[in-house]
């Protein structure tokens, strides 16, 4: 079995494959391509599924971003929990609206249900993404419930050999909270604006390139 069969690969983000069961947080300014990078990291290979919790934009907008990144957004391949404020998304088998981003109980149960649905459909490897964690942190009555929520998702992903990628613009949150939340994840990808455009670097994961790398969020491939 090749290493690529035991890892998640990325066609449009310049990082090496990561082991199944890995959880990542992607931090950086939204205006520098945070959403584009998250969606690129979530683009599924033919045998995989993608599950997105969208809290900043509604489900149709998130699906469009996923499609633009090269993902197959057809029903069933892409499944979503839409907890964006003022969303008018209608519930379907594969898209579950949650009226309030503070409702971590509902978001978590719908996420579990959609994840189990992938198993039931014979798909064992799921890429799960959050765009972004900011509303969950902002609206939560107690940040400890967000820690519990993220740990639960991370635990499921680790046990199920999945991949979890959460986006967060650190400028939207208290830096102490961002620092603490980062510890829940196995690794971190930082996005910043460099002199010649966007750059990324990977922290905390083995076998990844060192230092800052140029990154073009509009490029569909390396």
């Amino acid at each position: 079995m090749s290493s690529l069969e035991t890892a998640y690969t990325f066609d449009a983000v310049p990082i090496e494959p990561v082991a199944r069961g890995t959880t990542l947080i992607v931090t950086g300014p939204s205006l520098e391509g945070l959403r584009e990078m998250l969606m690129s990291a979530l683009v599924a290979q033919p045998t995989e599924g993608t599950l997105v919790v969208t809290a900043d934009v509604d489900a149709p907008t998130a699906a469009e971003a996923y499609s633009s990144a090269g993902g197959d957004d057809s029903p069933g391949r892409l499944r979503m929990v839409d907890c964006s404020p003022e969303s008018e998304t209608t519930a379907t088998e594969y898209v579950r609206p949650i009226a309030d981003p503070a409702d971590l109980t509902g978001i978590g149960m719908e996420l579990s249900d959609l994840y189990e649905g992938f198993y039931a459909d014979g798909c064992e490897h799921v890429r799960t993404g959050f765009y972004t964690l900011a509303p969950l942190l902002l609206y939560a009555e107690d940040v400890r419930s967000v820690f519990r929520f993220v740990h639960t998702v991370a635990g499921r992903v680790r046990s199920a050999d999945g991949l979890c990628v959460c986006a967060l613009d650190p400028d939207t949150q208290d830096e102490r909270t961002v620092s603490s939340v980062t510890h829940v994840f196995d690794g971190k990808i930082e996005l910043r604006r460099g002199e010649d455009g966007a750059q990324i670097r990977v922290l905390g994961l083995p076998n990844q390139p060192d230092g800052w790398l140029s990154y073009d969020p509009l490029s569909p491939s390396k």
């Binding site: 579950r96 971590l104 978590g108 149960m109 039931a120 940040v143 820690f147 519990r148 102490r176």
Partner: protein, 296 residues
């Protein structure tokens, strides 16, 4: 391993409860079947690894079960196993009751439940606080220290008395962070013995190398909603990590006051010096214990 797990199986419906309990038992788990929220509350003990619950009970619902579990053991995972869809289940009044969920209508639902319970009992699965990347090694390192004997406690009591006096604060303590709770080895100015990890500031202190200062707990989003800190009159905090020679953070030496308080650079340096003294005491305990172990 499933054969080592003890699971509370709670369901208000007799037939559903029996079927779920049978599935878990057939997988080699020890199962305690209960029919009420009250029975869940009285059944939680340190041997329980996970709680599987239906939704409806004669004395409440699954969210009451979650609250009962979290009151007794905040780190214990709860799986809601219901024939109602996630979309149709009523939502709790509180938004933060995070659980695992599995629909009984899923194909191979009982097999998936066994798998889900197994994964929900992995370390840190449903905890409400961050842990350091070296958590397993840190806990293992902590087990090598014996600070419960009177000599060690006396040394830490003298140190915390000195710290409280030096900074003119209400409380000074040395706390060690076990797997699920902080254990106060010495506590000048209060009678605290243990505190759940999710309620402690020290859980965050051990994440960073620098000394942690929280000038006003109510204005820090990590702690502002923490009722336990308010109950204990913890309004300001400064804590320095206590580490093993290998660098694992096993606890903290801390200053507490019931008013917002700033710490100058000089005061932080003083606290770090006190912390070095506490570290020396800890290392002495380990060296003595290692030598006792090797000679005995």
């Amino acid at each position: 391993m499933p054969s080592e797990l003890t699971v509370i199986c709670a369901d208000g419906d007799d037939a559903d409860r029996a079927a779920t309990a049978r599935a878990l038992s057939d997988a080699g788990m020890r199962v305690q079947s209960v029919a009420t929220v009250a029975a869940v509350r009285s059944g939680i003990d340190p041997d329980v690894d996970c709680v599987v619950t239906g939704f409806d009970f004669p004395d409440g619902d699954a969210y009451d079960v979650v609250n009962a579990v979290r009151d007794a053991n905040p780190d214990l995972a709860v799986v809601v196993f219901s024939d109602a869809s996630a979309t149709d289940l009523p939502r709790p009044n509180q938004g933060g009751l995070v659980v695992e969920y599995l629909s009984k209508t899923m194909p191979d639902a009982t097999e998936r439940l066994v798998a889900l319970v197994s994964q929900a009992t992995t370390p840190n699965y449903q905890i409400a606080y961050p842990v350091p990347g070296d958590e397993d090694e840190r806990i293992e390192a902590l087990r090598r220290y014996d600070v419960e004997d009177s000599d060690a406690v006396g040394a830490f009591e003298r140190l915390t008395k000195l710290v409280a006096s030096h900074f003119d604060i209400d409380v000074a303590f040395v706390g060690l962070l076990d797997e699920h709770e902080e254990r106060f080895v010495a506590c000048e100015g209060a009678n605290w013995e243990t505190l759940a990890r999710e309620d402690t500031i020290c859980t965050h202190t051990i994440l960073e190398e620098s000394t942690m200062v929280v000038e006003n707990v109510r204005e820090d989003p990590r702690f502002a909603a923490n009722d336990r800190l308010a109950e204990l009159d913890i309004r300001s905090y400064a804590g320095v990590r206590l580490t093993t020679p290998e660098g694992h953070a096993i606890g903290a030496l801390c200053c507490i006051d019931d008013e917002p308080r700033e710490y100058s650079d000089a005061e932080i340096r003083d606290l770090e010096l006190f912390g070095e003294e506490a570290n020396e005491q800890l290392r002495l305990r380990r060296r003595l214990d290692d030598s006792v172990g090797s000679s005995g």
